[in-house]
């Protein structure tokens, strides 16, 4: 009001004595004051007006519109014209078209023109204060922590969130001359972050914004480890050239990190569990068509994440041709909500091995019960199946051995009694033959009795051989020699339609009974010839060392000599293979052969501590491998100390 009064004094001609004083007052006021005549020519501008509006230029005598053409279109321009034309005072507000500042203007018509008072609006100050309050409220209540650093990194200001998150008061922060705030900051892996790597320090040094750096520290107030995501933003002075300070903005991501770690832990746990159990998982989402495989599933299928993208077609490519339909049908049924699991299929791994996969699954349904996908497990059961087969084979072998053993006991008992019975039949028929006259009609009858007795005796001897009642006469035997010998005899009894091939190598000696082993070879060749019958065929006899890691019931023998007899004959069906070593089991016609040949072979080989392996295919022939433990002399056995020869 004082200024207004002063201005009015100037324009009141009735009191000229005050004009001079008024001008001095106007000159010193902080408002811009100017006077324009009717032609819009400047007739007066005080110091402030000359500075703020004219930028120090001399305005007196200049035309307003010529000097500030931008005024033409402005609100103030319009107000000036209105006041000039109607002679009424006017107040207006707005953005000053010249200074760009918010202002208020009072326009007073004069007798020969206008006087104008420009004043920076108080609204500007109010707005600034309001803005300041808004910013302060935000600064104080935001959940993110914010600290301002000076050019050296020392803390100038910090908000309450920063104090709370860091567990340090603003005063404490200010006492620390470092962006680290006196905290031991570590990165995600627990490694200490050096001072020059701290985000605020980096921002101050480089002038670059640093974003999303994860740091961890121990909150001293709560004693808990916290994780922060930190941004550091450098600040420049008003012309943007000089780095003046920086601020660090951070939020507590502990909960997020803990959840992340829990998830990682859970995933690692799952992966480890899958690894230990050797069970992989597959999740198929029907909507996206995506197949998600666990690491273990990749391993089970023998493909890498890098080279293999799971899909129905891709997986079918890995599956054995004959098993593809099983897998495809199961998938197809599952997509209809029918789950025909578990299934098994064979997979051909890229490394060339074939594995059996056990695949079990269930449907994934949405809350309406519709099938949206499949969750499945895969496990490699190749070894399990192999073990099952092996166990089955061992059970069969055991059963077979027990059966042969009980048959042997039975046969041995019968043989013993028969041998006693045969003593008078043979002995007395012989005695009677001696006493009978040459032309006695009893003689041929006695001869029949004696011959029948002799046949029975031979038969009993063979049964005893099978039942191991007769001990081998143990001597060191050079196998190749006696097998060659046996071959000579065998050739004579085998039809010429059968070729006999010899592959007899020089092998280690064994301990045994040459005559019994001779019988083994002859029986096997006879058996082979029988299998070929009247057809053209071949019998191959082979003698070779066999250094398989095979111990003989813990006796420490680990090397064997193998005698193999292979034929191109009729082969044996499963039943025959199971029963071939049983005494009196024969495939020949009644009256042809005794059915004791292979029983005798079995008995002799067993008595020698050996074993027999048989491979046979119906219509393709058979192969008998006889394994006999090699002879190790006492000295050698001691020296060798269990080391297989």
């Amino acid at each position: 009001m004082t200024r207004k009064a002063a201005a009015r004094i100037e324009i009141a001609p009735s009191r000229p004595a005050a004009v001079f004083d008024a001008r001095a007052v106007l000159e010193n006021t902080s408002d811009s004051v100017c006077v324009l005549d009717r032609n819009w020519t400047w007739t007066y501008a005080n110091h402030r007006a000359r500075q703020d509006i004219a930028g120090g230029r001399d305005v007196l005598g200049q035309n307003l519109w010529a000097m500030f053409p931008q005024l033409e279109q402005s609100g103030i321009g319009l107000a000036l014209r209105v006041a000039m034309s109607n002679g009424h005072p006017l107040e207006t507000e707005g953005v000053h078209p010249v200074t760009g500042e918010w202002f208020s203007a009072e326009i007073h018509p004069l007798s020969g023109g206008l006087s104008v008072f420009f004043r920076k609006s108080r609204k500007e100050e109010i707005a600034l204060a309001a803005r300041e309050r808004r910013f302060h409220a935000m600064f104080s209540t935001m959940t993110q922590g914010i600290v301002f650093h000076d050019r050296d990194g020392a803390i100038i200001e910090a908000n309450p969130a920063a104090e709370q998150i860091l567990g340090i008061s603003k005063a404490e922060m200010r006492a620390v001359k470092s962006g680290a705030l006196g905290l031991k900051l570590t990165d995600e892996n627990g490694a200490l972050i050096e001072r020059e790597k701290i985000p605020a320090e980096v921002a101050l040094r480089s002038g670059q914004t640093v974003r999303n750096t994860i740091v961890t520290f121990l909150n001293r107030t709560t004693g808990e480890r916290r994780w922060l995501s930190v941004d550091a933003i450098p600040q420049f002075d008003s012309n943007g050239a000089v780095l003046s300070h920086a601020y660090t903005l951070f939020r507590d991501v502990t909960a997020h990190k803990q959840a992340e770690h829990a998830l990682e832990h859970s995933q690692a746990h799952l992966a480890l569990a899958q690894r230990v159990a050797a069970v992989g998982s597959t999740v198929i989402d029907f909507q996206s068509g995506e197949w998600e495989w666990s690491d273990e599933t990749y391993r089970i299928f023998g493909v890498s994440k890098k080279d293999f993208c799971p899909s129905l077609e891709a997986i079918l490519g890995l599956i054995h041709e004959k098993d593809r339909s099983v897998f495809r049908d199961a998938m197809e049924a599952a997509s209809r909500g029918v789950v025909p699991y578990p299934i098994e299929f064979r997979v051909h791994k890229p490394n060339g091995t074939d594995r059996i996969i056990y695949h079990e699954a269930d449907a994934i349904r949405d809350r309406f019960g519709a099938v949206t996908g499949i969750i499945a497990t895969n496990s490699d059961i190749t070894d399990l199946r192999a073990a099952e087969r092996e166990r089955e084979a061992l059970q069969n072998q055991l059963y077979h051995a027990q059966r042969l053993d009980s048959l042997g006991t039975l046969a041995g008992g019968i043989a013993h009694d028969l041998n006693n019975t045969l003593v008078p039949i043979l002995g007395l028929s012989e005695a009677m033959l001696k006493g009978a006259d040459a032309d006695s009609p009893q003689r041929p009858l006695l001869e029949v009795i004696h011959q029948a007795g002799a046949r029975a005796r031979d038969l009993v001897r063979q049964i005893l051989t099978f039942s191991r009642r007769e001990n081998p006469d143990n001597r060191v035997v050079m196998i190749s020699g006696f097998v060659r010998e046996s071959m000579r005899l065998a050739r004579a009894s085998v039809p010429t339609t059968i070729t006999i091939e010899e592959r007899i190598g020089d092998v280690a000696p064994i301990m045994g009974d040459a005559s019994q082993l001779h019988q083994v070879v002859l029986n096997l060749i006879a058996n082979a010839a029988q299998a070929i019958g009247e057809n053209i065929g071949r019998i191959t006899v082979e003698v070779a060392d066999d250094h398989r890691n095979c111990t003989d019931e813990g006796k420490g023998r680990s090397s064997f000599v193998r005698i193999s007899v292979e034929d191109t004959g009729s082969g044996m069906d499963e039943l025959t293979q199971k029963r071939m070593f049983e005494p009196f089991y024969t495939t020949r016609k009644v009256g042809v052969g005794t059915g004791l040949g292979l029983s005798v072979v079995h008995g002799i080989v067993a008595a020698h501590g050996g074993h027999i392996e048989v491979k046979s295919r119906l219509g393709h022939g058979s192969r008998f491998d006889v394994f006999l433990p090699i002879y190790v002399s006492e000295g050698e056995a001691t020296n060798a100390n269990g080391d297989p020869r």
């Binding site: 008992g413 041998n419 003593v423 008078p424 002995g427 007395l428 005695a431 009642r469 007769e470």
Partner: protein
């Protein structure tokens, strides 16, 4: 007349056959049906040779051989068997180990047996 041979076997047919074969060959024979009876006859008849079966009731041949050898260590004994075993050991082998001078498996040729008897008596001082 040649020396006395004691035959020990529980099987009638075996005993009768051996008695016949040896008598025909000129030996004197006596028979027992088990080991216990054999020991009684041994004391009474003092035979030169004993031919004994091994598997018999009352007292088996193995035990009989041991007791006979105890009474007269230089007694000639021929053990015979139809091939039965005790456990895993062949009984004939066991008899030999216990001091039987000869072993023979049933059934045998008459000549085999007479030869063994002859050798046993011939060796006797």
């Amino acid at each position: 007349m040649k020396g006395l041979v004691l035959i020990v076997d529980d099987d009638d047919g075996v005993r009768i056959t051996i008695e016949h074969v040896l008598t025909a060959a000129g030996y004197k024979v006596a028979s027992a049906i088990d080991g216990a009876q054999a020991l009684l006859l041994f004391e009474k008849l003092n035979p030169e040779v004993v031919i004994t079966d091994l598997i018999m009731p009352v007292q088996d041949g193995i035990e009989t051989i041991a007791q006979l050898k105890e009474r007269r260590p230089n007694l000639k004994i021929i053990a015979m068997s139809g091939g039965a075993r005790i456990g895993n050991d062949n009984v004939l082998q066991k008899a030999k180990d216990l001091g039987a001078d000869h072993i023979i498996a049933k059934p045998f040729e008459s000549a085999e047996l007479t030869e063994l008897v002859q050798r046993s008596i011939g060796a006797h001082p």
